[in-house]
């Protein structure tokens, strides 16, 4: 667990970057710091590993005051990922990943073996390990950045806009991978972004900062979306707050029925009962089958695109389990909103 207690940061030029911050970042959870630029979110993150020293107040990681520890040793015990990855251009990918183990005094062979293992963990091939950073794509470089941060298996991971410089498709992939990794590793992650969708997607808890380093609200994504503390937070969350909330709810509880028969549109299946497309006498329309783990937002989107207003549900193997109507989804979505408001 990371605790901020009345932390203040004023820079020598007089600007206050962080104002009287008291905040807890729970163990094994993802805390996302969001806000406009200059709101102090990056400074907050960098105070955890003492890349920036607080002017007053205390920061504890695992109960220990960070300012009472040797800065270099503290940083070796905390994973650190930055935008553009910040990889060492003169070292191979494998040696980049082995940085912290080598600093900790592991022998080269053991450090390299660990690095090779992590290469696989973040979805890169052994071949990539022998290359130099500039020979990799931006997304691959970010993966290496994550692997380097994980190398000595630190309990805490600091990520400063790590996916800010890659295109939206790669960014979504990297977010998925991070969520998958987090399920396995359960690190205490502090993640800085200015992208609210990324925050909602990744965060167990989101802390919204306002210019001048004020923490405005810290809550779960659902609570934040359902009950923003003030107009600033509401504005920051954007106009489609309701839809974003639906992205947090899964399709699991939405009732399903059998596929319709005898209408204009027929659901075409393959021999293994996997849905292929909708067909009428004249044409075929493609469909996207949805699993129970898909979001209500995806369901809503698919129901709008579907010629019948029905979404096609499948199990993990892609076999048809039934269909749900637009009304079922709407009703459920409405209920999700009310629940979020009441529960929060």
């Amino acid at each position: 667990m990371i605790q901020f207690d009345a932390v203040h940061k004023r820079f020598p030029n007089g600007t206050t970057a962080v104002h009287d911050l008291t905040l807890e970042m729970p163990e094994g959870g993802v805390t996302v710091l969001v806000g406009t630029s200059g709101c102090g979110k990056t400074t907050t993150l960098r105070m955890i590993n003492r890349m920036v020293e607080p002017t007053s107040g205390t920061i504890r990681v695992g109960g220990r005051d960070v300012t009472r520890q040797d800065a270099a040793e503290l940083r070796r015990s905390i994973g650190y990922v930055i935008q553009q990855a910040g990889l060492f251009p003169h070292r191979t990918v494998l040696d980049n990943i082995a940085t912290v183990p080598l600093l900790l005094g592991w022998n080269r062979k053991k450090a390299r073996a660990r690095a090779a293992e992590l290469l696989e963990t973040v979805g890169l091939t052994a071949d990539a390990g022998r290359r130099y950073p500039h020979q990799l794509s931006g997304g691959q470089q970010q993966r290496v950045g994550v692997a380097r941060a994980l190398a000595a298996d630190p309990p805490v991971l600091l990520m400063d806009e790590p996916f800010g410089a890659v295109d939206p498709v790669v960014r979504a992939q990297l977010q998925d991978e991070l969520l998958r990794l987090q399920q396995e590793l359960s690190k205490t992650i502090v993640f800085v972004t200015h992208d609210i969708d990324e925050a909602v997607r990744l965060g167990d808890q989101i802390a919204v900062f306002r210019t001048g380093g004020h923490l405005v609200q810290c809550a779960s994504p659902a609570e934040l979306l359902a009950r923003p503390a003030d107009d600033f937070v509401a504005d920051f969350l954007g106009a489609e707050r309701g839809l974003k909330l639906l992205s947090l709810k899964t399709l699991a509880d939405v009732p399903r029925g059998p596929a319709p028969e005898g209408g204009v549109w027929t659901l075409v299946l393959d021999e293994a009962n996997r849905p292929l497309h909708w067909a009428s006498k004249e044409t075929e329309i493609p469909l996207r089958p949805l699993k129970d783990t898909d979001s209500l937002l995806a369901a809503l989107d698919e129901s709008v695109a579907s010629p019948t207003g029905l979404i096609v549900r499948v199990d993990a193997d892609g076999v048809l389990t039934g269909v749900s109507s637009r009304d079922d989804i709407h009703e459920h979505a409405g209920r999700a909103h009310t629940q979020a408001r009441v529960a929060a």
Binding site: E73, L74, Y80, I82, A85, G86, F88, P89, H90, L103
Partner: protein, 220 residues
């Protein structure tokens, strides 16, 4: 004119002018010895200064301006000055050559250090490297191509200027130039000049080739 070049070619290719204590081979060795030693001393002075101001970001203004000042010093004047102050020895020559080489080394080392991507430096600190580890494991290797360029430029300047050793009665390829001038032997003057130029160019090619070989993995 044709006669002159023919005599020059004869002089450069005859076995007699290459052998003996005032033969080309010996003078060449002397010349290289002065140049390498002077560059080495200059590197021992210039590298730490350049690395220090690059690493700390402090003192750059003073160091760079002093370097420009050093560059502006007239080398022969410096030789004479130290000679008058300290008497006849190789010292004036080395002082002048070192003063010539230090600025190129300091400014290039500093330029190499400032060219290190701040993100990379930040990441190095953030992974838990101490100051000296950031310097030797990250900054220095990344600045190395520019540092080597500085050393190469310094060495070539020194090689071209080491002829002044002969001005205060020592050896090196400058001997031919100064003796030739005194004896009104144009072939010898020209031969000395050509040899100095060839050595300088050869060293330049050799070292830039070495640089390319060493840093072939780097992007431009």
């Amino acid at each position: 004119m044709y006669e002159l070049f023919k005599n020059l070619a004869d002089w450069l290719t005859s076995g007699a002018s290459w052998s003996g204590s005032d033969g080309i081979a010996h003078r060449l060795a002397e010349h290289l010895q002065y140049s390498l030693l002077a560059t080495l001393i200059a590197a021992a002075i210039g590298l730490p200064i350049g690395l220090l101001i690059g690493h700390t970001g402090k003192g750059a203004f003073v160091a760079i301006n002093l370097s420009s000042f050093g560059r502006a010093l007239p080398t022969v004047g410096l030789v004479v000055l130290v000679f008058l102050a300290g008497g006849l020895s190789m010292l004036p020559v080395y002082v002048a050559l070192v003063a010539l080489a230090v600025p190129a080394i300091v400014t290039n080392t500093y330029a190499g250090m400032t060219a290190v991507d701040p993100d990379v430096r930040d990441a190095a600190r953030g992974q838990g490297m101490r100051g000296h580890q950031v310097l030797f494991q990250v900054e220095l290797p990344l600045a190395l191509p520019l540092i080597m360029t500085g050393l190469r430029l310094a060495l070539i300047q020194v090689v071209a200027t080491a002829t002044i050793a002969a001005y205060v009665s020592f050896g090196g390829l400058g001997r031919y130039v100064f003796d030739g001038l005194a004896q009104r032997d144009l072939v010898q003057v020209l031969g000395g000049a050509v040899l100095v130029a060839v050595v300088a160019i050869a060293l330049d090619l050799l070292l830039s080739g070495l640089q390319r070989l060493l840093f072939r993995h780097r992007t431009a």
